[in-house]
């Protein structure tokens, strides 16, 4: 392979990895706090993209206002979802909560199909993201450069929130021990709600960036990225934000590079993540950066 093709693939891998990382963080934060796979997270990602789409097309907003509005809506939706589908089941058996999550996911997808139509829509072109940039013989869409940068900024803000503010302290407390945190006068419900809000916001950023890079929207677009990003979170060590980022990048790079180097495996692309997941779960069940926990009887 030529060096220029390699760099081309590397930028693709990095931007895909960044997108995976952004979505994986949402999974990991929710799992860290509630020990729950938020199956609907991929659909929140899809909604983020659609909100932006309708704000730009139907409401004719300038794109940057549209994006802010879409992100706000996505975060609010995530908080609402927690209120309706997860909060009533907080003391229920795990299987019930998981079924509720799956139900919520299918509900959002099907409402999406009814409201948005099953036919794919294409996002109108935004010049800032759509220009082709040349570096020597490597040419790429500008959005592929924006994505890693935006991800880095978002990540820095997130780490500051989690490790540098009182709210973040509350989040970490709730994720360590929910009941003890309540006894320490932490508003558990508010903290959980906020966690969902932040996670959904990141999914929204991911969704909008995703449609900038792959400008096709359909109501089921969140299913595969959702599953893969959950896998990324597990690979990195679920409950651990740095782990989710690592897992996301790892998955993005592996996916692009295997297809680039072994084109005959292209058809199996969607299976890589699952194979990787199973290997990691068998070798290091707590994930790459996770801590092994012994269960006391």
């Amino acid at each position: 392979m030529e060096l220029s093709t390699f760099f081309q693939q590397l930028t693709n891998a990095l931007s895909l990895g960044s997108l995976y990382a952004l979505i994986a963080i949402g999974y990991t934060m929710v799992y860290g706090i509630l020990r729950l796979i938020n199956f609907a997270h991929g659909d929140v990602f899809m909604l983020g993209a659609y909100f932006a789409f309708y704000a730009v097309t139907a409401l004719a907003m300038p794109w940057w206002i549209a994006f802010v509005v879409a992100l706000g809506l996505t975060a609010a939706f995530g908080m609402g979802l927690e209120r309706v589908a997860y909060r009533p089941l907080r003391d229920s058996p795990k299987i019930s909560v998981m079924i509720s999550a799956i139900g919520a996911s299918f509900l959002i997808e099907n409402v999406g199909i009814v409201l948005f139509g099953g036919r794919p829509k294409s996002f109108p072109s935004i010049p800032l993201f759509d220009t082709v940039v040349h570096f020597g013989s490597v040419s790429m869409l500008s959005v592929s450069l924006f994505i890693p940068v935006i991800t880095a900024v978002v990540l820095a803000v997130l780490l500051w929130i989690v490790h540098g503010t009182k709210t973040g302290l509350a989040m970490r407390a709730v994720s360590t021990d929910l009941d003890a945190a309540r006894l320490m006068a932490i508003d558990v419900n508010k903290t959980i709600s906020l966690t969902f809000g932040i996670g959904s916001l990141l999914a929204g950023v991911g969704g909008i960036m995703w449609t900038m890079k792959y400008p096709q929207l359909n109501p089921l677009m969140g299913v595969m990225p959702g599953l893969k990003c959950f896998i990324a979170a597990v690979i990195g060590g679920i409950g651990n934000i740095q782990g989710a980022v690592l897992g996301g990048f790892l998955l993005g790079i592996i996916e692009i590079m295997i297809v680039a180097f072994l084109p005959e495996l292209t058809g199996y692309r969607d299976a890589f993540a699952f194979v990787l997941l199973i290997i990691v779960l068998l070798v290091k069940p707590a994930g790459l950066l996770g801590k092994n926990q012994t269960v006391k009887v």
Partner: protein, 350 residues
Amino acid sequence: MKRNTVLTIAGLLVFVTAVGLADAVLGRFTVRILNLSAIYIILALSLNLLNGFTGLFSLGHAGFMAVGAYVSALLTMSPTQKEMNFFLEPIVPILAKIQLPFPIALIIAGLCAALAAVLIGVPALRLRDDYLAIATLGFAEIIRVIITNIQSVSNGAQGLKAIPKFSTTWVVWICAAIAVVFMLALVRSSYGRTMKAVRDDEIAAEAMGIDVFKVKSTSFVISSFMAGIGGALLGHLITTIDPKMFTLMLTFNILLIVVLGGNGSITGSVLGAIIVTVLMEALRFLDMPMNLLFFKTNGLPGLRMVIFSILLMIVVLYRQRGLMGNKEFSWDGVLGIFRRNKSAGNGGRP
């Protein structure tokens, strides 16, 4: 003879007559829906065995169904039909000539699904709860991706068409009846009890000397065998299969039946399967153009699934036990209801 035995025999006679007369009396469309619900009974029971009786949350059912459906279809199609199907790439020579009688193919289909379950269960069953769910989901997805890609065996994304229509009313309902009887016997046996023990408290079960891993894998393999049979029957009923059929959506439908009927209730799964399948068809009008009093919708495909998703959410949020909870049908129970009503009718006196 005891009263309950008489009632059971009477019930069986009614069942046999109903199945025997169904083709003659009911329209083709109705019969097809009823047969579909028989297949869903088998599938729901097999998922319930895992989910309700062993406490293993698996989302891999569609994968095992796919294995069963493809194996049975490939073993029963005639060489000419195969040639017509495989126009992009010829079928592998071993499969091209082979054609087995339907019952043997059906059993082999189940065994292949069970074999897949053995291979998958060994690594996956070491995981718990949500990890198990996501790993089984992953395996199902891998199976689907493989089927899509092995063009010369499965005909890839084109799928298989003109599968012989062996799933007649008798076949599917006898299979469903066998499944029900088998499950009843299983959950009452000592095997069934160990499964429930593992479900209720894994650590306690282990302390009592139960080989937890063995119980889990037995349950997983049996369940997959049934799923394979169900998938094969489904293929022979609708006569076309393709990899897109066997997504998480299919597993979700079965899960809906199990949860709606009651996790851990055989009666619940049977009732749930019939109710959900019939409702799925009955609500088909929702996807069609409608003319309501004030506004006109021009066909909203997907509205039906919205209703079902909402139904599932309501059941999970407000009535977690589902229709039956973990109770089973019994003649005493049914007669008890009538008696209670009667005694209520005459002022509560017995």
